[in-house]
């Protein structure tokens, strides 16, 4: 509490003390010192550097763009190749699928002189016992015919120019969009044809009945 009054008492004394310097015997004389000559940095290298940076950036950007664009072309080319190879793969897979169809295998086997085995028989490897009654195979009277294959799904590795636009049940090329489905496609909704069973209420039984 007593510190505050002390400070206020001292305050007026200080400015007075500053405004009246006491020239003392030890005081050094003040002299004007000439300003040191400022050395200016050379301007040219800086400009060259900035321009260089600018040019470098520009060229870099250009290169980057070019590389990117080049990449886009490469991607596009590779995509084309991929699609071409995919087409080829698909065509080959189709050929394989058609070749491994059972009817095809049967026809080929018969052509090689093989015959279907008639009666199933097995050899038990543990004791060599014959299970079943083996019978010699016979060439079938009718060659596998009833199930004719569709004309092989054309595409060979280099598909010929005869596509089959009708495959997959779509309208053939002669009727592009007019007939979206084969005429009279089966109604997919289940509809029990009641007609196939006699009306339960009426006696359906003609007399006399036979059944064996």
């Amino acid at each position: 509490m007593s510190a505050l009054p002390t400070a206020t008492r001292l305050a007026p004394a200080c400015p007075g003390a500053r405004s009246m310097p006491h020239p003392g015997p030890n005081r050094t004389e003040l002299r004007l010192v000439p300003a040191p000559r400022r050395r200016r940095a050379a301007r040219a290298p800086f400009v060259v550097m900035v321009l260089g940076l600018l040019a470098g950036g520009l060229v870099g950007l250009l290169l980057l763009n070019t590389v990117l664009a080049q990449g886009a072309f490469t991607v596009s080319d590779l995509k084309k190749r991929v699609s071409a190879l995919t087409d080829q793969e698909q065509a080959l897979l189709q050929v394989v699928a058609a070749e491994q169809a059972p009817q095809k295998l049967a026809t080929r086997a018969l052509a090689l002189g093989m015959v279907p085995s008639t009666n199933p028989a097995f050899i038990r490897l543990s004791d060599g016992a014959v299970l079943g009654v083996p019978a010699p195979g016979r060439a079938p009277k009718v060659l596998p015919g009833p199930l004719s294959l569709p004309p092989a799904p054309a595409p060979t590795a280099t598909p010929s120019g005869t596509p089959r636009p009708g495959a997959s049940g779509t309208a053939t090329a002669t009727r592009p969009a007019s007939r979206p489905s084969p005429s009279g496609s089966p109604k997919p909704t289940p509809q029990p044809t009641a007609g196939t069973a006699p009306k339960p209420t009426v006696s359906p039984t003609p007399s006399p009945r036979s059944s064996r």
Partner: protein, 570 residues
């Protein structure tokens, strides 16, 4: 109090405020452009190209994974007719490539339509050649084509697709959702058809359809189709079906119908041949239904296979006279003998012991007749088993020998599969599993199993059925050397919807082997063949398909001797 700009602190704060305000405007605009309105601007941009990415339709495979229906890429060639300057010249160039005659092409290229199809579903290779011609106003539309590499093999099970590639029949229709997948799209900035690098874009990848694996074995299916096609042809039947089932699992190994069709060109076949008759056609089973009567009798301990019956030439029930397929004097038949000789009169006499034919009805239902199989096959016909309240005076009696109710071929195969499986009915199934594009295998739901008859009753019926194939029975044609075969012939009066009367016959043979360890059930049905009987016409088909299936499934004979079934008594 005015703003004192001389005050440096205030000045800084004011500048900061202005900058912050302006920057927040920028930020707000940025959010508006990039966040809120981005889609609208993207859509407005004229250089944006959007292409549809077609989902690949799933493959349908047989039980070993061989493809039965698969999708390949194809191209629809389209035209903007207003850009075509010389239709006939372009047509002449196109004709040899797309395989359509020039006159038709000229017509398609002439006109003022901005969009028209020139040729549909050509191979991508063909399109490349067309593209190389650099013709004006000719464009491509990428699409896919459904291919059935094995042609008519299992066609009536798989079905077919329409012009838009969606299923129109069979499993292609039933499983449309699983097979189709979901189309995607890609949107990008483009210049001259090339995507501008770094310009961004958005892609919704297509979701390919799932692969569906069937329980069908393509080799067995082929043999069954071969056999039934030949039999229908040689007997001049209206149609025929073969069902091959595995009794323990209910899996259908083959479902053949004849005549069939080529799903690569379904339009060429009549609609009736594109369905699956084994599921969509109901018929009266005839004598193959006698096993249900036997089940009712044996389950209630009312009879044994050895029970002695005296069978007259005619029998009168419900004001009507019934006969057998052959005339005979009084026959002294065991109950097993009435099955082996397929005597209707003997069956009625035996069924009299039920004390009311209505007791047959629960067994018909328990074997799964008169209700859906649960396959959900499009157009499936569950047949009709009239409840006793709708019976006439004779219905109950005709039902004892399989007339007066209708079934489909798979239902009937399932009845014999139930007996073969020791009396436990396993719901038939056609789909083994689906495999989603991520490679996850989803097996089909476990089929329902219900006990219909006891194992001992099933064994007794099986023994009686061996008598059918054995000496003196009606089905010697179904014998397979070395194997014990159990089965039943059926020659039923066929209900003809066109006249509302009975006309012609349904011949069938249903059986299983080996009888003492059944692995395979084969059901053969021929509708309205010329002459013969169930044994002589359907029996050989049964034998051929059964022999092949036993080999394919590698089922060796058990080596046990067949029981001697006593047919007559003295």
């Amino acid at each position: 109090m005015g703003l004192r700009l001389a005050d440096s602190g205030r000045r800084t704060r004011a500048a900061l405020l202005v900058f912050a305000f302006i920057l927040s405007l920028f930020a707000g605009r940025l959010v508006q452009l990039q966040g809120i309105d981005a889609a609208a601007y993207a859509a407005d941009a004229t250089q944006l190209t959007t292409v549809a990415l077609q989902a690949t339709r799933g493959t349908i495979r047989d039980d070993k994974g061989y493809p039965l229906a698969t999708s390949v890429q194809a191209v629809n060639i389209t035209t903007d007719q207003t850009l075509v300057t010389n239709p006939s010249a372009e047509a002449a160039q196109l004709a040899p490539l797309v395989g359509v005659d020039a006159a038709t092409l000229t017509r398609r290229l002439s006109g003022t339509a901005r969009f028209a199809y020139v040729a549909k579903l050509v191979t991508p290779a063909t399109w490349k050649k067309v593209e190389a011609l650099n013709l004006a106003g000719i464009f491509a539309e990428k699409t896919s084509k459904r291919v059935y590499p094995a042609g008519p093999l299992a066609a009536n099970v798989i079905g077919f697709v329409g012009a838009d590639g969606s299923g129109l029949g069979g499993l292609e229709y039933q499983l449309q959702n699983e097979l189709a997948g979901r189309n995607g799209s890609a949107t990008f900035d483009s210049a001259g058809g090339l995507a501008i690098p770094g310009a961004g874009g958005s892609t919704t990848p297509p979701l390919p359809g799932a692969d569906v694996w069937l329980t069908i074995d393509r080799d067995v299916q082929w043999e069954a189709q071969q056999a039934i096609t030949a039999a229908v042809h040689s007997s001049r039947a209206l149609s025929g079906t073969v069902v091959v089932m595995s009794p323990g699992t209910g899996q259908i190994l083959a479902l053949a119908t004849a005549p069939t069709f080529d799903p690569n060109n379904p339009g060429a076949a009549p609609a009736a041949d594109r369905g699956n008759r084994a599921l969509t056609e109901a018929y009266e089973p005839g004598s193959t239904g006698k096993v249900i009567t036997a089940s009712a009798l044996l389950s209630n301990n009312l009879i044994t296979p050895q029970t002695r019956l005296t069978v007259p030439n005619r029998i009168s029930r419900g004001g009507q006279s019934f006969k057998d397929y052959f005339n005979h004097g009084d026959l002294k038949l065991t109950y097993a003998g009435t099955i082996a000789l397929s005597s209707n009169i003997g069956t009625i006499e035996a069924a009299d012991r039920l004390g009311g034919m209505t007791r047959l009805y629960p067994y018909l239902r328990a074997f799964g007749l008169g209700r859906p199989l649960g396959l959900d096959f499009p157009g499936a016909n569950p047949g009709i088993v009239p409840p006793p309240s709708q019976w006439s005076a004779t219905t109950g009696y005709t039902m004892t020998f399989g007339q007066g109710y209708s079934v489909n071929a798979v239902q009937m195969a399932s009845v014999y599969a139930t007996i073969a499986n020791g009396g436990v009915r396993v719901s038939p199934s056609l789909v083994k599993q689906t495999v989603t594009p991520d490679g996850v295998v989803h097996p089909a739901a476990t089929p329902a199993r219900t006990r219909v008859i006891s194992p001992s009753v099933a064994a007794e019926i099986t023994e009686m059925l061996e008598g059918v194939v054995g000496p003196g029975g009606t089905g010697p044609e179904a014998r397979i050397a070395g194997y014990r075969v159990a089965g039943k012939t059926g020659t039923a009066n066929r209900y003809d919807a066109s006249c509302g009367c009975y006309r012609g016959y349904t011949m069938s043979f249903i059986g299983f082997a080996p009888a003492d360890n059944p692995q395979v059930v084969v059901a053969v049905t021929l509708q309205n063949p010329d002459g013969g009987g169930g044994g002589s016409l359907a029996g050989p088909v049964f034998r051929q398909v059964m022999q092949f299936t036993l080999q394919t499934e590698q089922v060796p004979p058990t080596g046990a001797a067949a029981p001697r079934v006593q047919i007559f008594w003295k």
